[in-house]
Each structure stands twice: as C-alpha cells, then as structure tokens.
C-alpha cells in the first residue's frame, strides 16, 4: 500500500513538473494559433533557443542559473520580434499551407543552425548546488530541481493569468481572441498586439525550454522531436485558450509519467490514442469555442 501511494506521488510529481514545462512552452503557441490563425510549427525553435542560451550562458560564461534563465527568456523574446515582423506577419490570415511551409523551413534552418553552433550532441544542464540533491516533502523526498521547476512554473502561470485578467494588454488580448474584427473596429492596434503577444509567447517558450532542459533534452532536433507534444497540448486544450492548454498539459504530463510507470513499453502510444479520443469527442479541444 505504501509503495502504491509513494508511486502515485512520484507519478503526480513528475507529471506536474513535465506539465509546467509543456504549458510554459505551449501557451504562446495556443495564443498565436487562436488569435492570429497562424499554424506555427516552428514554435519549438523558440523553446530550443531558450535551452541553448541558458546552457551556453551557464556552461561557457559561468553565468549563475537564475540570471541565465532570465537571459534566455529575454534573448528569445527579442529575437522573435524581427522574425514576426519580417516573416510571420506576411501570412496572417493566409493559407495554412504557406504557414506550414514557412515554419517547417524555419525548423529545418534551426536544426542546421544549432548543429553548426553547438554540435550534434545534447547540451547538459547542470543545476546550481542549491538545486541539486533532493528535498524532503514529508511524504517522500523529491529531486530539488524539479520541485523548483514546479514552484517556478506555478508562480509564472499565476502571474500570467493575473496579467491577462488585470492589465490593459490582457484585456485587449482577450477582446481580440474573442472577436478580432470587433477589436479592430474599437481601435485596438492589433498589429502591435500581435507583435507583443508573439514576443511574450516566444519568451515564455524560451523560459520553458530552458527550465525544462533536463526533461526535454536540448539538441538540434528538438523542435521536430517535440512538435507533436506541443501541438497536442494546444489541440486538446483548445486553440486561443489560455487556461485550456494548462489543463491539457496537466493531463498530458500526468498521463505521460503514469503510463511510463505502469506500461513503459506502450506509454507514448496511449498518449496519442488518448489525444485522438479527446479530439474525436471534442474536435476543437476541451476549451475550444464552437
């Protein structure tokens, strides 16, 4: 009995950590897809870039963990501005196929670019001393880094939701997701809103990629390997939704760690089957609007 309980805690704990990473990375994708109707298959590139910036800052330049993490988010967010202005913006409201092509192209470029700069091997994330080892949470002891990851993720999610609920930017964003044309006609500068949202989403993805570097290994194929995960979170959560992907990420994270524990052989397969079942039941996702 004790074993089962401890296993359940362990599954929940690791699932939660994974869910945080998935959510941080995917929430921006959900918003860009829902708000701008843009099929962004290159979203994982921003997460990967966050991972590379973080590990490089730490491993090559000996920057401490926390500043390096913030640096990753800022660098990725800044880098996303020109990409949005020069490439993405052309295709808002355009054909899906063009968007698929453009973003697949960016993924391919990222694969080559990352191999050129960092080589084909995976980048190790060495957490600082204060995050190594384990913490005893009474029931069981858990790895310190992942505990930090969960806390950090929870704090970010709260901040994000509060921001979207309370700030002027958040109000505009919600209005535009709800009805873009209406938002434009009441004078919201949607072009600027898109740019800011895109940068924010990319920055969060960079942060998520960096934080999650020990869960989703940083290597040149990152954007391609994990694309299905990010898309599943968005599809199951519901396009344009901000909270939907959180529920989806929780579901995916816990299911993933649960299946890996119970049925390590067929874990991934069940995840996909579950996704299909949910999409069959609700083609627009759990929180998607009809």
């Amino acid at each position: 009995m004790g074993d089962t309980l401890s296993a359940a805690f362990s599954v929940a704990f690791h699932g939660l950590a994974f869910a945080m990473v998935l959510y941080l990375i995917s929430v921006g994708l959900s918003v860009t897809m829902g708000l701008m109707g843009f099929v962004n298959l290159a979203h994982g590139v921003f997460a990967m870039a966050g991972g590379y910036v973080l590990t490089s800052l730490m491993n090559r330049f000996a920057v401490p963990f926390v500043p390096a993490l913030l640096g990753a988010a800022v660098v990725v967010a800044l880098a996303s501005f020109p990409i949005e202005r020069l490439l993405y913006r052309r295709l808002y409201g355009g054909e899906e196929l063009d968007q698929v092509l453009l973003t697949m192209g960016l993924v391919f470029i990222s694969v080559a670019g990352a191999t050129y700069v960092w080589g084909p091997l995976q980048q190790p994330l060495l957490p600082p001393l204060w995050l190594s080892g384990a913490v005893d949470l009474g029931i069981d002891s858990f790895p310190a880094y992942r505990s930090f990851l969960i806390l950090c993720g929870a704090a970010l999610v709260t901040a994000l939701w509060l921001g979207i609920e309370r700030t002027r930017f958040g109000i505009r964003l919600r209005a535009s997701v709800d009805n873009l044309r209406m938002a434009q006609s009441v004078g919201i500068d949607t072009s600027r809103l898109f740019m800011t949202t895109f940068a924010l989403g990319s920055g969060l993805a960079g942060l998520g990629g960096g934080l999650g570097a020990d869960l989703l290994a940083i290597n040149p194929g990152y954007a391609l390997q994990n694309l299905a995960y990010f898309l599943i979170v968005v599809a199951v959560g519901g396009l344009g939704s901000i909270r939907g992907p959180f529920v989806a990420a929780l579901l995916l994270g816990v299911a993933d760690s649960g299946f890996k524990y119970l049925l390590p052989e067929f874990g991934a397969f069940f995840i996909y089957a579950l996704t299909m079942a949910i999409l069959l039941w609700r083609p627009r996702g759990l929180f998607g609007r009809a």
């Binding site: 698929v100 050129y116 052989e265 991934a268």
Partner: protein, 320 residues
C-alpha cells in the same frame, strides 16, 4: 462563340497534350544517359509517386496533411515484412502494401476528415505519430530502431532479377509510376476529380448543389493513401530496407516541400519538384548533410515569400 465551340473545348480538355510526354521522355532518356545513377533514379521515380499521391489530397481536395508518411511507411513495411518473411513476389507485395495503406486511410480518414483546417492538420500528425510509435514498439516484426532487414525480393514475373546497378529497379519503378499516373490523370479529369476541385474552391457551394462532400473527401483520401503505400512499397523493395524514418514527420514534411517546389494541384508539380529536390539533396548531402537542411529551409522560406506556385507557377507568371 458558338455553343458548339465552347462545349467542344470543354469536351476535349482531357485529351493528351504533347508536353505531357516530356516527363516520360526525360525518364527514359535518363536511363540511358545516367547509367551510374539508376539507383537514385529509381528512388526519385518512386518518390514522384508519393508526391503525386500527396497532390491529390493537398492540391485537388485541399486537405492540408502532415501525416502522409503514415501511408507511405505502411506500404513500405507491409511490402518489406512480406519479403523478409518468405513472400518476395514484388507485385503482390506492392498491392498488399497499397491495400494496407488504403485500410489505414479509410480508418484514419473516418476520424480525421470530420474536422477541417488546423484541427485536421494536428489530427493527421497525431495519426502518423501513432503509427510510427506502433512500428517502433512492434520491433519483433519491424526491426524497430535498427530498421527492417533481411528482405529477399524475388525477380519480377519470375524473370527480371533486381541487379546491383539498378536497371531492373529503375524500370520497375518507372512502370509502376506510369501506370499510377495514367489512373490518377484519368481520375483528375473525371467528374469525381472535378468535384474535388469544387470542394477545394468552395465547400459551401458543393453542399448546396447536393454533393456528398464527406464521402468524396474520404474516397480521395483512401485512393491517395493507396498510392502512397505503393510508393513506399517500391522504395522498400528496391532498396531492401525500411526504417522508422519512413513514417516520420520529416518525411511528411519533405514530400510537401517537394510538391510545392514543383507546384501544387497541377499533376506535374511532382514530376518537377521531386527530381530537383532529390538531385540537389544528393549533391549537397555529399558535401555536408547538415547544411542541406539549412539550404532547404531557406528555400522554403523563399518560396513562401517570393515564389508561390513553385516552378510551374513561375512558368505561368512568365507566360502572362
């Protein structure tokens, strides 16, 4: 214009034009001109068929899919597994691959085609990922990560052995492509094919003129899956190897790229895009496989920004 002239022009539209012989002349000529590259040539021909099948769903029915490799890989694995387990007869192997892919197309189409747009795109991706995962886990029969090995493909009609230089492979792939192309061309010009264009152009209107839209989309999805399966089977039989990459997202993506380089919804886009892509890949990969990705990525961005319609689209612009 007199009534008869307009009707006449319409009624003659499916007739063969001289330029349509070009790809075949080029393919036969290549056989004699590049005897050292027949193995690559065979792969190009089989991949043209894959791109042609993708063109049917993408270019004609307007279904944007990221999971077409599922059908390609299924055909390859079925043909490959048969050959590795004692049934090396190539033509029945190919047909078995086509049937298996068609069945998968039917089952997944029932689910996937209920949606459109973004949701459809994601569902095709999820289906393909599931198939890839299933193949990975069934390593006792597929070989898993190591790929499927030990295939023994018998001579075609019991007479023509697959030789080291690829003579047989090339002609085998060429014949299969030619037959499939005849069928596809016929279908594209049939009322069914025209109604697909109608669905792509305006689905609401298609409903309003009483067309069974869902059934048409499912039928073309199945046909396209079968053709992709044949293409996969051809590559499996001629290279005697199948790996998990046959089912990958990358494969689904690159076939779209090849098609777009040539031109979508034109029947001949595949014949231009695939050779261009594969010959370039062959050249550049020799220099450095990683940078191939860089250049192809850049090319895709370039196409989207500057050259929609691919090579054939540029032709159109030039003519105007």
């Amino acid at each position: 214009m007199t009534p008869s002239r307009a009707v006449e022009a319409f009624a003659r539209r499916h007739h063969y034009r001289p330029y349509e012989a070009l790809p075949w002349v080029a393919a036969v000529a290549s056989y004699f001109v590049f005897p050292d590259y027949l193995a690559l040539g065979a792969q190009i021909l089989a991949t043209i068929l894959f791109a042609l099948s993708a063109d049917l769903v993408l270019g004609y029915a307007g279904i944007v899919t990221l999971g077409h490799a599922a059908f390609f890989g299924t055909g390859a694995y079925v043909a490959g597994i048969l050959a590795a387990h004692g049934w090396g007869e190539p033509i029945t192997g190919l047909l078995a691959g086509a049937v298996a892919a068609a069945v998968l197309g039917f089952l997944s189409g029932l689910v996937v085609l209920r949606t459109t747009g973004l949701a459809l795109l994601m569902q095709t991706l999820v289906v393909a990922t599931m198939v890839a995962e299933a193949a990975n886990k069934a390593s006792f029969i597929t070989g898993g990560d190591d790929g499927l090995q030990g295939m023994e493909v018998w001579p075609i009609f019991g007479r023509f052995r697959f030789d080291l230089f690829g003579h047989t492979s090339y002609l085998y792939c060429l014949s299969a492509l030619f037959l499939c192309w005849l069928a596809v061309r016929r279908m594209v010009h049939s009322p069914f094919g025209r109604s697909l264009t109608g669905i792509r152009e305006n689905v609401r209107r298609m409903h309003a003129i009483g067309a069974p839209v869902a059934r048409r989309r499912l039928i073309i999805y199945i046909i396209s899956a079968a053709l992709a399966g044949i293409s996969g089977g051809l590559i499996a039989q001629t290279t005697q190897f199948v790996s998990l990459s046959f089912l990958s997202l990358e494969r689904s993506g690159t076939v779209l790229i090849m098609l777009i380089i040539g031109g979508v919804g034109r029947l001949y886009g595949a014949f231009i895009g695939v050779p261009l892509y594969m010959v370039a890949q062959n050249r550049f990969s020799e220099i450095d496989p990683v940078y191939w990705y860089f250049w192809i990525g850049l090319l895709m961005v370039f196409i989207v920004v500057f050259a929609r319609g691919g090579v054939l689209g540029l032709f159109d612009q030039f003519q105007r």
